[in-house]
């Protein structure tokens, strides 16, 4: 019975999508924000798998001291590409996927402002991804310079470096087009009555993130272009041999790089700010302060970059400035933490999978924030810089912060997107496996770093063996657990139970209150009126 009904529903949906094309051409030509959101999310997951396999190569090599599996050069290529692919290929596109799916529905708009440009912003990504992967097959292989691409090493790399530079250019173009689209959509296409201060927080965090992207992307593009001209066109921006300044590169990179970490985490804050109220059955505590905190974080993120450079040599006043500025960021961040906790206070809480991941985020992101504060202290950082402590820190903020949030968001909105529910038990299993294995990989890396193990090395002294073994086992466990995630999602899409229009009792943004599940292909062609 239900199969018959479902078939009918599917046929109908299909007709709805046609617009002349079907099959693969539909996806290539689509300008629909929901289609494009889906494409972004699947691309992100694919890159997550590719980057994940690279991480497993790294952890396999580090399982025991000595060189077993790969040579040091290839090891460096793995760390570099793992970093670049995860940051630019997995995490950023995941949140752009959320933006595409959700922003129009949450502000009551029919689509993104520039639907055709939206199609281009997505379809640039597979080309960039391909360039990154092709670089492995070039003479000399992929660049082994680290995701930060510091000069002068970048000037000496093989042709794979050029591929990577072009990939970064393309990724940057995609991000800029995406940001222009998001800013225009949020500013101009809100439904009548949907004032800025009534928008769901997710839209706010993306508006601010898009501003950050616009302000910081040209800096990255400039940095890699100057690397390119140093390599091939005889300039000496960073090439010390020609009178250039390698430290200038670091300033430029981190002037982009620190805003970039907030580009990654702010949309995640937005997702968390939708999920926690929904499962607390209470409105978000301190909405306005959340908006101001987000904006302050964004502004401060431009004046802290040199906390990545305490050891390259700078005046003490410089160290002090960057130290105080960095610790200052903890204030708005703590305000957010406080607001999330206060939202839950006396709420009627339930702990479905999205909420579990959101709580996992709160707990682990707090740890990442604290280790960040530790690193912000110049005197301490001089010891810890370039050790595994830094690796632990940024994985707490990027994996437990951003990736866990992406999981939370996917479980949360999957019923709205597909009209079907995932298996709650399996979702919880996925959460607990991820939680346990994540800490197994990265908590112990704090100890390794404090004991002095440098990052980006394929071999290490015997004293570090135990924690490395634990970390590597955790890594394989984490990787396998993500196959369970894939299974859960595919199972939900193909044969999940029918989801309710308002699957989560406490959810109150427009996509839940005004649209059925699955959300129709065209929604809010007539804007709703928000009072």
């Amino acid at each position: 019975m239900s199969a018959v009904l479902d078939d009918h529903g599917h046929d109908h949906g299909h007709d709805d999508h046609h617009h002349g094309y079907s099959g693969i051409m539909r996806w290539i030509t689509t300008t629909n924000h929901k289609d494009i959101g889906t494409l972004y999310l699947w691309f992100s997951f694919t890159m997550f798998m590719v980057g994940g396999v690279m991480a497993l190569v790294i952890r396999a090599e580090l399982f025991t001291p000595g060189l077993q599996i790969v040579n040091p050069d290839f090891f460096n290529q793995m760390t570099t590409m793992h970093g670049l692919i995860m940051v630019f290929g997995a995490i950023m596109p995941a949140f752009v996927g959320f933006a595409n799916w959700l922003i129009p529905m949450q502000i009551g708009a029919p689509d993104m402002a520039f639907a055709r440009m939206n199609n281009w912003s997505f379809w640039l990504l597979p080309f960039a991804g391909a360039l990154l992967i092709i670089s492995f097959f070039m003479p000399g292989g992929a660049p082994g310079v680290g995701w930060t691409m510091y000069a002068p090493l970048t000037v000496q790399m093989g042709i794979g470096m050029d591929f990577t530079i072009f990939a970064i250019h393309i990724l940057g173009m995609s991000s800029i087009m995406g940001s222009i689209n998001i800013v225009t959509t949020v500013l101009n296409m809100r439904a009548p009555g949907m004032t800025l201060m009534k928008m769901p927080l997710f839209c706010w965090t993306w508006l601010i993130t898009a501003y950050l992207l616009i302000a910081s992307m040209p800096v990255l593009a400039g940095a890699v272009t100057m690397t390119l001209t140093d390599r091939h066109f005889g300039t000496s921006f960073f090439n010390a041999a020609g009178g250039g300044d390698p430290v200038l590169y670091q300033h430029i990179f981190w002037f982009f790089g620190h805003p970039e970490v907030y580009i990654i985490i702010l949309p995640a804050f937005g997702v968390i700010s939708q999920i926690i109220p929904a499962f607390s059955r209470k409105p978000l505590f301190g909405y306005a302060s959340m908006v101001y905190a987000t904006a302050s974080i964004a502004i401060l993120s431009f004046i802290v970059w040199a906390h990545h450079m305490y050891t390259v040599g700078m005046p003490v006043t410089g160290q002090l400035f960057f130290m105080y500025a960095t610790t200052l960021i903890a204030v708005p961040t703590a305000a957010k933490m406080f607001n999330w906790l206060a939202t839950m206070w006396r709420g009627s809480l339930t702990f479905e999978t999205p909420m579990l991941f959101a709580l996992g985020f709160l707990f682990l992101f707090a740890i990442g924030g604290f280790s960040g504060l530790v690193l912000a202290l110049a005197a301490v950082d001089i010891q810890l810089q370039d050790t595994y402590y830094v690796v632990a820190h940024f994985h707490y903020v990027m994996v437990a912060g951003a990736l866990f949030t992406a999981f939370a968001g996917i479980y949360f909105w999957l019923p709205k997107w597909t009209g079907r529910m995932y298996n709650e038990t399996l979702g919880k299993v996925h959460f607990w496996l991820s939680m346990i294995f994540f800490n197994m990989i990265f908590f112990v890396q704090h100890f390794l770093g404090l004991a002095g193990m440098p990052r980006r090395i394929p071999d290490y002294p015997l004293q570090f063996e135990t924690w490395n073994k634990i970390s590597s086992i955790g890594a394989f466990g984490f990787g396998l657990s993500q196959l369970l995630f894939l299974y859960i999602v595919v199972k939900a899409i193909t044969s999940g139970e029918k989801a309710a229009d308002k699957q989560w009792e406490g959810a109150d943004s427009l996509e839940w209150t005004h649209l059925p599940s699955p959300a129709p292909y065209h929604s809010f062609e007539t804007p709703p009126v928000v009072k």
Binding site: I176, N181, V183, N188, I214, H514, V530
Partner: protein
């Protein structure tokens, strides 16, 4: 955030006025004022170009062209979006005259019809369907800011009011 959202009105156009006459304003939904958009643009352009200029002073001038291209691209996007932000159509029946005022980018055009001989026709169907205000020898597309379904409703409602 509960309680903000009212039920959707079924119609997205509302006739003003009582008695035989009416006035109807149809416009695009646009949630930011041109001045607001200018502020949003000025702020981001200033920051982006300021940062790029600072790097140029330090010798890293190649940030500047990228910043320039980007600021121009954002400007074009805002302009494309803003050019038609204030577009509207006003349809008025008063004193035995049917007046249609069409504002597009920065031109305003006024059309007058004889209500006794005017009627609304539907051209095409589904996606791309249009409605035309017609009187012998003339026709003018109206309801361009409305979604297809609403255009149909408008055509029906206007015809009904023109008959009365």
């Amino acid at each position: 955030m509960k309680g903000w959202i009212q039920e959707l009105p079924r119609q997205e156009f509302a006739f003003q006025g009582r008695g035989p006459g009416f006035s109807l304003l149809l416009k695009r939904n646009c949630s930011i004022s041109p001045a607001g958009l200018m502020w949003a643009y000025g702020a981001i352009a200033a920051v982006t170009l300021g940062v790029a200029a600072a790097f140029a002073v330090l010798g890293a001038w190649m940030v500047l062209p990228f910043a320039g291209i980007e600021v121009v691209a954002l400007g074009i996007a805002f302009a494309m979006n803003g050019r038609h932000a204030a577009d509207y159509e006003r349809i008025q029946l008063a004193g035995g005259r049917l007046l249609v005022e069409v504002c597009e980018s920065d031109s305003v055009r006024r059309h007058e019809f004889n209500p006794a001989r005017a009627s609304v026709m539907v051209a095409g169907a589904g996606h791309g369907m249009r409605i035309m205000l017609e009187s012998p020898g003339r026709s003018l597309e109206i309801g361009r800011h409305l979604h297809e379904r609403a255009r149909l409703e408008l055509a029906g409602e206007l015809n009904r009011r023109l008959r009365n």
